[in-house]
């Protein structure tokens, strides 16, 4: 039982990180039918940007104000990178065949990954201890302050995003654009602005995910975006790619699944089991758990 509860806590923490990152993949896919392969590398870049802001701008201060600023500045800078990425790598190819955009996405991924290596070097760096190492022992189950912060902040961000998309005018514009871009234009929706907004939101959430990864795992490497990006991407597919609550659900499920596999089987096999899960879910529900609520009537 202890293992179960411990892995439940761990799984929810990892899951919320996957979910935050998965939202970036799913939102971009929802509107553009494009997998932004560079998203994972932006997640990694965010951790390095956070590291540099901590050492160079904040003078290695981990006060609450400094930590909040590190989060805001990292998210803000990734939002800017996201907008530039869309303009440079994706917008010119919007009318081009799908494959061109995929190649461009892979290229952008390599450019960002190599950019991180050029600036911060190829070796692992240690992410600063922005949150004090506080642990609670709840009858055999150990929970850290970092875990609580990651889980709560992720939930707040996801609920905010959900309400924004479901209840606001801009949210309606996002939903309409993801269903039918031309019809959305006929309603007076500026689809280009919607796409820019999607990149801003997706990249900022991914950036926060990247900082969480740094906080939780401590060691950050220039190429870690592929690993975490892949997991988050799988989470988005499991939940139903293009579907925002689906990405949240998929992320949580995958995090829990990985934690339980690590707890009861072996963490060495976690990749294999993840893909077995993905394959099984795709066999049973090819559109993911929440994908495609209703088939379009023609």
């Amino acid at each position: 039982m202890d293992i179960f509860l411990q892995q439940l806590a761990n799984g929810l923490t990892i899951g919320s990180m996957y979910a935050l990152v998965a939202l970036g993949y799913t939102m971009v896919y929802g509107v553009m039918r494009l997998i932004n392969f560079a998203h994972g590398d932006m997640v990694a870049a965010s951790a390095f940007v956070g590291l540099t802001i901590y050492t160079q701008v904040m003078g290695e201060s981990a006060s609450l104000g400094a930590v909040v600023l590190i989060f805001l500045l990292s998210a803000g800078s990734m939002a800017v990178v996201g907008i530039i990425l869309e303009r440079v790598a994706y917008r010119p190819l919007r009318e081009a065949p799908r494959l061109s955009a995929v190649v461009s996405a892979l290229g952008a991924s390599l450019v960002i990954q190599n950019g991180i290596m050029l600036i911060w070097g190829p070796r692992m760096r240690i992410f600063p201890e922005l949150v004090p190492q506080v642990y609670w022992d709840l009858g055999g189950v150990v929970i850290s302050l970092i875990q609580v912060i990651i889980l709560l902040l992720s939930l707040v961000l996801m609920i905010t995003l959900y309400l924004f998309v479901e209840k606001t005018r801009m949210g309606a514009a996002i939903r309409a654009s993801s269903i039918d871009q031309d019809a959305a234009r006929l309603m007076g929706i500026n689809v280009n602005s919607v796409i820019a907004l999607i990149f801003i939101i997706g990249s900022s959430l991914g950036a926060i995910g990247g900082l969480f990864i740094g906080l939780y795992y401590r060691g950050i490497t220039f190429n870690m975006g592929w690993q975490y990006g892949l997991y988050a991407f799988i989470a988005a597919i499991i939940g139903g790619i293009g579907n925002i609550p689906g990405a949240m659900l998929g992320g949580m499920l995958l995090g829990l699944f990985n934690a339980f596999i690590a707890g009861y089987v072996s963490s060495t096999w976690s990749d294999a089991f993840t893909f077995i899960l993905l394959i099984l879910i795709l066999i049973v529900r090819p559109t993911g758990i929440l994908g495609e609520r209703v088939a379009e009537k023609v």
């Binding site: 005018r169 309606a172 939903r175 309409a176 006929l186 007076g188 929706i189 209703v294 009537k297």
Partner: protein, 239 residues
């Protein structure tokens, strides 16, 4: 009907890559009129509509609406000027409810006008019955009503209707055409693209016949109904 020209297309040319879809068409719509564009498949009817809405960009020519050349305006700004487009194939937002579709129709208005929505529900009571239902689960005819209703939500001066009869049960076609008349009588100018020439000419004041990207014929509905060419080509009567 007054003689003010509300809308005028001049020498409009549109091409898809190397294929020319419209080879210099010109047409006029007066305020308060119902004007129809007829023609066979591939004649360029939908291309004309999509170019008016700027979903397609013209190669040359102008589209004037109340003194502004639409060809110089971005697609999402057209509806704000007072032109609303119910597109071919309806293009309702299938995974959203009827009500949400109507809300999106009013997107350019910033604030939802409940009176307009009540009017739309009055025109098409079916929509009111099904307002909580997902648009994708409606029948083709009901989706067409929704597409027209959605277009009305922006309080347009001119309504573009692209093949409202396409793939719809004849009884519903009749009902929809009756309501189009009603919409026009409320003061909305209508530009109607149709393959169903008979029904369209019964409704319209004037018509244009498009044939492979060119205007082949034009005139009042009576003239067109009486024309031998039309009877042979579109009404299936032989002389």
């Amino acid at each position: 009907m007054s003689n003010d020209v509300l809308f005028e297309i001049k020498d409009l040319e549109v091409s898809y890559g190397s294929i020319t879809a419209l080879k210099g068409i010109s047409l006029k719509v007066h305020k308060g009129e119902i004007v129809t564009i007829l023609g066979a498949n591939g004649a360029g009817k939908t291309t004309t509509m999509r170019t008016i809405s700027q979903l397609l960009k013209a190669k040359s020519g102008s589209i004037m609406f109340k003194g502004q050349d639409l060809t110089k305006i971005a697609a999402h700004k057209i509806v704000k000027l007072g032109i609303s487009h119910s597109p071919e194939g309806r293009r309702v937002f299938g995974i959203l409810t009827v009500e949400e579709n109507l809300m999106l129709g009013a997107f350019s208005q910033r604030k939802l006008d409940r009176e307009v929505r009540s009017w739309v529900y009055e025109l098409f009571p079916r929509l009111k019955e099904r307002r909580k239902q997902l648009a994708g689960t409606l029948s083709g005819g009901e989706q067409q009503m929704l597409a027209i209703g959605r277009a009305l939500m922006s309080k347009p001066e001119m309504l573009l209707l692209d093949e409202p009869s396409l793939g719809i049960a004849p009884i519903l076609v009749k009902a929809i055409f009756k309501q189009i008349k009603e919409i026009a009588q409320s003061g909305v100018t209508v530009l109607l693209v149709e393959q169903n020439a008979k029904a369209a000419l019964k409704l319209a004041d004037r018509g244009y016949v498009l044939d492979v990207g060119k205007i082949a014929l034009s005139g009042t509905s009576e003239e067109l109904l009486a024309s031998e060419k039309i009877q042979e080509a579109y009404l299936g009567k032989k002389h």
